[in-house]
Amino acid sequence: MTLDPRTKMVIVICLSTLALIYNSAGELLPLLLVTLLLLLLFRIDISSVWVYLKRFLQLMLVVFIIQCIFTRGGEVLLSLGSTALVSSQGLLAGASLVLRIIVIISAALIFTTFSSRDFILGLVQWKIPYELAFMVTIAMRFLPLFRDEFVNVVTAIQLRGVELKQVSWGRKIDLFRSLLFPVVFGALLKAQQLAVAMESRGFRAYPRRTYLRRLDFIWIDYAVMLIFITITLMLIISY
């Protein structure tokens, strides 16, 4: 089944909205099953879910433990002396939070089935200005660069003899606050240079762009989108 990228977008949004609204494992588990089923329909290898999940394992573990310990109620399952550590409610709360993360990550995998180019094309055909659509995709591509910029600055600071791991939190916050402006400004400066470089190579030279390919929104897209939006809305209202 090849759906329009925009239809897939809507599906991802529906799934993650539901994942955010639902709270209990009893609701999230069916949602996860539906998501996995959709992945199969889109011919995404389910084992790749695991590859992505692995990166979030630590986060999920921490979240799980915190939820377990700080949610009280139900039977006490584990106690240290007379203080209850883990309760049945806590365990459920932890499990549902983890489930929620898994649903969102799995749903996001649907994005891997189309290219960012198709995505721009889709947005443009929905009358969103090309520059804006292009900026969104560029921003997605540049996020890692921002991280690199940050790593560079941290390296440069340490090389000038500042032991970041040892300075007090007050000093650290001070340092980062004074760095915020130059780092953000520097990044903007580079973005501006990029914009000039792009325009000088013909970007936006003509007010209207033409496209080699057209994305066709066919009846099945309308149908799928309608079904997903309706079901999601109904589920939200009846919740």
Partner: protein, 230 residues
């Protein structure tokens, strides 16, 4: 004891199909000017970064005065070895030129009055006084380069590594820089110069190491004025 000792050092970038550095054995004395030369992509910058632990060697050992670099923090190394990046944009992060040059001193707890004195001297010497309050990244290429160099040399580390320090400098500024480097070398502060600029290197270096495709292919001590002796 040698200042820096590299034994059987290898370095491999995850996405590069060949080794960036292969089997590097090197001893560098503190009180000397060592130049590293070689074509683009031969691994000069990588070697510099491995020496001070920005990159950890994927094989072999790097010792700084007998201590493994891998067990020291960047700040510990940074207080002993100054490092000027090849691209000044990567190391400028303060809001003004004066702050940039004073950053290391302030953070090592110098008194404000002494910091100011030292910063003023550097601004004057590198002809940056008029840009004192300017945002460093807005300066011209050569000016940025000089700020980057000044902000490292100001700390008076016992050793410095400069990656392509002459990039963007005009002939006159190159001469000023060469003079300064010669001066600090004469008072016993050593350095590694990574450079394409043979003219610049030839006048300064006591020793020239040549890299090609990640390997050392030449290592010559300079003897007298009329050339090199392997």
């Amino acid at each position: 004891m040698h200042f820096l000792t590299l034994t059987q050092v290898n370095f491999h970038y995850p996405k590069l199909s060949r080794m960036a550095l292969e089997n590097i054995n090197l001893e560098i004395e503190q009180k000397s000017i060592t130049a590293i030369i070689g074509p683009n992509g031969s691994g000069k910058t990588t070697l510099g970064k491995v020496m001070i632990g920005i990159l950890q060697a994927t094989g072999g050992k790097v010792l700084l005065q007998g201590e493994p670099v891998s067990e020291m923090s960047l700040a510990q190394i940074g207080r002993r070895i100054g490092y000027v990046f090849q691209n000044p944009d990567l190391q400028l992060f303060c809001a003004t030129v004066a702050e940039e040059i004073g950053f290391g001193l302030v953070n090592q707890g110098w008194e404000p009055a002494r910091v100011k004195e030292k910063v003023d001297f550097c601004l004057e010497f590198f002809q940056l006084a008029e840009y004192r309050h300017v945002f460093p990244l807005l300066l011209s290429q050569g000016e940025k380069q000089r700020v980057a160099i000044a902000s490292v040399l100001v700390a008076e580390n016992e050793f410095v590594i400069l990656d392509e320090p002459t990039i963007g400098l005009d002939a006159y500024r190159k001469k000023i820089l060469a003079g300064y480097l010669r001066k600090i070398a004469s008072i016993g502060r050593g350095m590694v110069l990574i450079s394409h600029d043979m003219g610049f290197v030839e006048h300064l270096a006591d020793r020239v190491i040549q890299l090609e495709k990640g390997r050392i292919v030449g290592d010559s001590e300079r003897k007298g004025r009329n050339g090199y002796d392997t």
